[in-house]
């Protein structure tokens, strides 16, 4: 259960950006959570809604984009997309297992609506 630590980092990044843009309030936050990022989206949302109180994000809407795995096959170059909870992946085109994961492993803050 490290979602609370992650929310703490998220709030830090948001506050830094809000300050840079002289904002007094954050209205909306959009984050992208990869299915292989090791974070449970539902818990992250709960943690965020608990921790946002008395911060610049107090009234902010929290939007999560869940990012499935996107991986490029190093053998045939095919770009594969795997839906949630699929942990083993081989290339859907050639069956290769050497895959370069392009997306789905990271947690990103995408955009902020500031006031």
């Amino acid at each position: 259960m490290h979602e609370y630590s992650i929310v703490q980092s998220l709030l830090d990044v948001i506050e830094e950006n809000a300050k840079k843009h002289n904002a007094t309030k954050v209205k909306k936050i959009v984050v992208k959570i990869g299915v292989l990022s090791g974070v449970e989206p539902h818990l992250l949302e709960t943690a965020f809604n608990t921790f946002k109180e008395k911060t610049i994000c107090e009234d902010a809407e929290f939007e999560m984009i869940i990012q499935p795995i996107v991986a490029k096959c190093e053998e045939c170059g095919h770009i594969n997309r795997y839906e949630q909870n699929q942990i083993f992946f081989e290339c859907k085109n050639c069956g290769g297992v050497e895959l370069d994961v392009l997306d789905g492993e990271e947690m990103l803050l995408m955009s902020l609506e500031l006031e």
Binding site: S5, S9, V97, L112
Partner: protein, 246 residues
């Protein structure tokens, strides 16, 4: 209604970048900015700093991760008996400094981090601990993470390599159940393999197959403390990796 600014003029193609055109003060006060920053950006930055610090002192840093009780500290105790390199340990536990003491009794330089309630080490905690380690005296620094197969996987602590342990008594399917962790591994150690005869349902070969499916290029070794050669194999792997970075 204009979809962009919400004004009531139906037919218009005004440029919203230009200010002062039938301004709606409320709407103009709010703006959406693209950020696209890693949420753990600060941690990653600190981790890079730690890694640089290790490199400056010619130290290979290894993050040891596993569930509680799979044998991380015992492995380090045993390694001290066979390793041809000198190593130190940064220990992470929620409470007590027992693990650091165990290692110090073996003559290993160890510093204990007590995380309180935190379920993982982060780069900042490791940075603080580095102030207490004399890196000039060691070749390898282990960061023994908090026993946990979930949370430590999300945090870069500044190590060069990850070793993940999984012990026979933990049972089948641990690797499939914790894919994020095992995908991080450069080396997976199956520990307590001397107990295999007592865990008849445990299929170590099937577990290895799962590990290789999850991460095709992962190295795998079997370890048990009664077989000193199995510990030597781990030491050799580390020495090899160290040579590859000199």
């Amino acid at each position: 209604m204009c979809k962009d600014c919400g004004c009531s003029i139906v037919e218009h193609n005004h440029d919203h970048r230009v200010e002062n055109i039938h301004a709606n003060p409320q709407l103009n006060d709010s703006k959406t900015i693209e950020v696209i920053t890693k949420i753990l950006d600060k941690n990653d930055h600190e981790a890079a700093h730690n890694r640089e610090h290790f490199e400056k002192h010619g130290v290979l840093a290894i993050n040891l991760m596993s569930s509680p009780g799979s044998g991380k500290t015992t492995l380090l105790e045993k390694l001290a008996e066979v390793a041809n390199f000198k190593f130190g340990v940064i220990e992470g536990d929620l409470e007590t400094n027992r693990d650091a003491k165990r290692l110090q009794e073996k003559g290993i330089e160890a510093y204990q981090i007590q995380t309180g309630s935190a379920c993982h080490l982060d780069a900042f905690m490791v940075h603080k601990a580095l102030h207490h380690m004399n890196l000039d005296d060691i070749d390898v620094c282990f960061i023994e993470n908090v026993g946990n197969l979930v949370c430590p996987a999300s945090y870069d602590v500044g190590a060069h390599l990850n070793i993940v342990l999984v012990s026979v008594p933990e049972g089948n399917d641990k690797i499939a159940k914790y894919p994020v962790m095992f995908r991080q591994a450069d080396l997976i150690l199956f520990t307590k393999t001397d107990l295999l005869p007592y865990f008849e349902d445990y299929d170590i070969e099937a577990e290895k197959k799962v590990a290789r499916k999850l991460k095709p290029n992962v190295d795998i070794l079997e370890v048990n403390t009664k077989d000193i050669n199995s510990i030597k194999a781990v030491a050799n792997w580390i020495e090899f990796k160290k040579k590859m970075r000199s």
